[in-house]
């Protein structure tokens, strides 16, 4: 993975000093709340319900074992001994003290980490596929470009105070796993007809209050122009995006208002001035960064391993885990492994300091000392030998990291919700936990098969509920917490936004509602269908009927 040079290190060090000074000016009354707000937000610090929340950047989801160990240490020393991995592949601490945050940043800087632009109205952490560099269907490894873009976006002076937050995702696979269509800018890398690396640029997507899937702004642009083209898009947005109403300030609203053709025309016009300018990426710079993402020193291994095959045949629990948590790899004899942060009945995406230390050790022992955070809020060891899987499973299991539920109903994507977040209308974690307990029977869970369930505690949609096969949204009705249910959302190349099935439900009703939705699927499915396929074939009517019939009978 990318290693800082003296320049990178100096920037994070100078940032620590700058933020320390800003915080001390705030604490001594030299900065007002309003003046400090954008400063702390651009450093990932929210003032929350019980305590501030600090969001630490994990650029495009990559971590070294050393970094994860440090995160475990920080959570222990400055927080309550756990952290929450978010849907933007970052790590959130829920209980730090404001006055400690400069020290936390100083600690992070010692392991080449920071919290820059993890919140605020600026370019946020750039996200990508958690299997980047190892996925068999990958065309281009997007990580070098993601790092080039991370550096370019860091303290970009022109885009430091945009109308609203700005999220960029990059992807280089046939099957999109980075939800490029749900981002302000999505960059899909591919090989063009001349076998050159090119980008299809999506724009104007986003979830939140008004979920909209992005539109293609440009079908083809050479990789060298990635930064100047983004500058053209963001400049049009910075000058013309609405600032009068925070709910209408995302770029998607501007694109809708202008129409895609006019928006595209303005971007192209702007780009004519920026094209081939100094921020055009050079081959040398891309190479300098790309050398950090060379393939690992793999051993030459056979495609099969007898020990693994035997363990699968003789140990059903291991086989169930391997089926859900082990993923294909480019390199023969290797696999990627998802360590589930979704044990039933615990907050989705949470990891204790002990678990972070354990995962750091596992990655040193089995996966070249690196790991990934997925936007589904799990941890991934990306380069594990087939022959090591059984040993890894036993150790992961001992730390509660081997729930065989990846991609299943209980692998719930969930924001921190009303227990922590001051924006939330309703709690989300207790809903997730109750649903997980309702589906605690593993055989039943595996029979239901692939099903993505997403929960957001409010319109801001941190839990990506719009693209969940089942989406749950916390809403406030006369001061009490209710939950609106959507079905038919999906991430990927054929992304879709879910449809609301009807009036919302109380918290106690939610496990039963999910149960009824699943019942319709189990009754109606054809042998090959996943839940989402059945919803797409039948529409929402039969699901709605079954759920509300039960409600009326009750």
């Amino acid at each position: 993975m990318y290693k800082y040079d003296a320049i990178d290190q100096q920037i994070v060090n100078e940032r620590v000093a700058q933020y320390r000074d800003q915080t001390s000016r705030y604490l001594t009354g030299q900065l007002s709340d309003d003046e400090f707000r954008p400063l702390r937000l651009q450093n990932g610090l929210y003032i929350q319900r019980h305590a501030p929340m600090l969001r630490i950047a994990v650029p495009y989801g990559m971590l070294s074992s050393k970094q994860l160990r440090k995160l475990g240490d920080i959570a222990k020393r400055f927080d309550k001994g756990y952290g929450h991995f978010s849907t933007r592949q970052n790590l959130q601490l829920n209980w730090p003290k404001l006055e400690d945050t400069p020290d936390i940043l100083a600690e992070l800087a010692t392991v080449e980490m920071h919290a820059i632009q993890t919140s605020g109205n600026c370019i946020r952490n750039i996200t990508t596929d958690q299997f980047a560099g190892i996925a068999p269907d990958e065309v281009i490894d997007p990580r070098a470009m993601a790092e080039v873009m991370r550096q370019w976006s860091t303290f970009h002076p022109e885009f430091a105070l945009l109308p609203r937050k700005f999220k960029i995702a990059v992807s280089g696979t046939k099957q999109d796993r980075a939800i490029v269509q749900a981002h302000d800018i999505g960059m899909e890398f591919y090989l063009d007809s001349n076998n050159k690396v090119a980008i299809k640029v999506w724009g104007g997507g986003g979830l939140g209050r008004t979920p909209i899937l992005g539109t293609v702004i440009r079908e083809h642009i050479e990789w060298q122009h990635a930064l100047t083209y983004c500058e053209a898009i963001i400049r049009v947005y910075n000058l013309h995006g609405r600032r009068d109403n925070a709910y209408k300030a995302r770029i998607k609203i501007l694109v809708k208002a202008l129409g895609i053709d006019e928006f595209r025309r303005q971007v192209e016009e702007e780009w004519q001035h920026l094209k081939d300018g100094p921020n055009t990426i050079t081959e040398a710079e891309l190479q300098r960064v790309a050398q950090h993402f060379e393939p690992m020193p793999y051993e030459n291994l056979p495609a099969h391993d007898a020990g693994f095959d035997t363990a699968i045949a003789s140990n059903p629990a291991f086989a169930a885990w391997a089926k859900r948590c082990v993923h294909p790899h480019k390199q023969a004899g290797y696999r990627a492994v998802t360590l589930s942060l979704k044990p039933h009945g615990k907050a989705p995406g949470d990891a204790t300091s002990e678990q972070m230390w354990a995962v750091a050790d596992l990655s040193d022992e089995f996966s070249f000392g690196e790991l990934r955070v997925s936007h589904e809020q799990n941890l991934i060891l990306s380069d594990v030998k087939l022959s090591d899987l059984f040993a890894l499973w036993e150790k992961a299991r001992a730390h509660g990291l081997a729930t065989p539920n990846i991609g299943l109903l209980t692998d719930i994507i969930c924001c921190p919700g009303g227990d922590f977040c001051s924006l939330a209308n309703a709690k989300s974690i207790p809903i997730a936990e109750a649903i997980q307990m309702q589906f605690d029977n593993l055989d039943y869970l595996h029979d239901i098969g692939d099903l993505e369930l997403n929960i957001s505690g409010c319109m801001n949609a941190c839990g990506h509920h719009h693209v969940g096969h089942i989406g749950i949204l916390g809403v406030d009705k006369d001061g009490s917490e209710w939950y609106q249910v959507t079905i038919g959302g999906k991430q990927g190349n054929d992304a879709s936004i879910g449809s609301v099935i009807g009036p919302s439900f109380s918290a106690e009703e939610m496990p039963g509602v999910v149960q009824r939705l699943v019942e319709v699927y189990l009754n109606e499915r054809t042998p090959e269908e996943r839940f989402i396929d059945t919803v797409r074939r039948l529409g929402i009517a039969p699901f709605k009927a079954h759920v509300y019939q039960a409600k009326e009978a009750a």
Binding site: D5, Q10, L39, T154, E158, R235, N238, H273, P278
Partner: protein, 203 residues
Amino acid sequence: MSNLIKDNAIVADEWVRVIPPALGEETVRKQAGKVVLFKLTGEATYTPEQVAATKIPSTGKVLLPLDVWLANKDQLASRVNQGEVGLLIATHEPVENLLKAVTDINSFPLVAVFVERFPDGRIFSIGNLLRTRYGYKNELRAVGDVLRDQLFFLKRSGFNSYLIRADRSAEDALKSLQDFSQPYQGAVDMAQPVWRRVQRQGA
């Protein structure tokens, strides 16, 4: 003590900023129950009546809102020649309006951009466009809600003078111009990105 920073030093302000009078009560716009804090790009700043009622000091260097200058262009021609007129636009005014209104932007020794509220980042794009696209070479000043923690970005966006908000210390603010020694991306002050400026490790 002056609150004006120009080219990394605190200097006396020779310019008088002319502000059109408020005629009558200003209406507070609300949306979804919240006060609208930012004007939309393209919204008018002053009514024709306000512009007409504006009094311009007859001597000395005057910083005029674009609309006020346009309404008094002919009378001010000789003062422009003497370098006594500076132009000001607000962040919601399209910078193209300014360029359309003048034959040579460099015949004005001062252009100022007024930012009503510091989180309004349009000011950065406006500075950048004035310098890189429209070739403006003279003093470019940020006025209004200009605070220390935005100075570094303003500098990188092409501003070289900053009138710090009256209740804040310009001396303190000066320090922030040096917040970062080697920024990553090319911008107005340093056009080249870091990888073109210095030899990076591993390159």
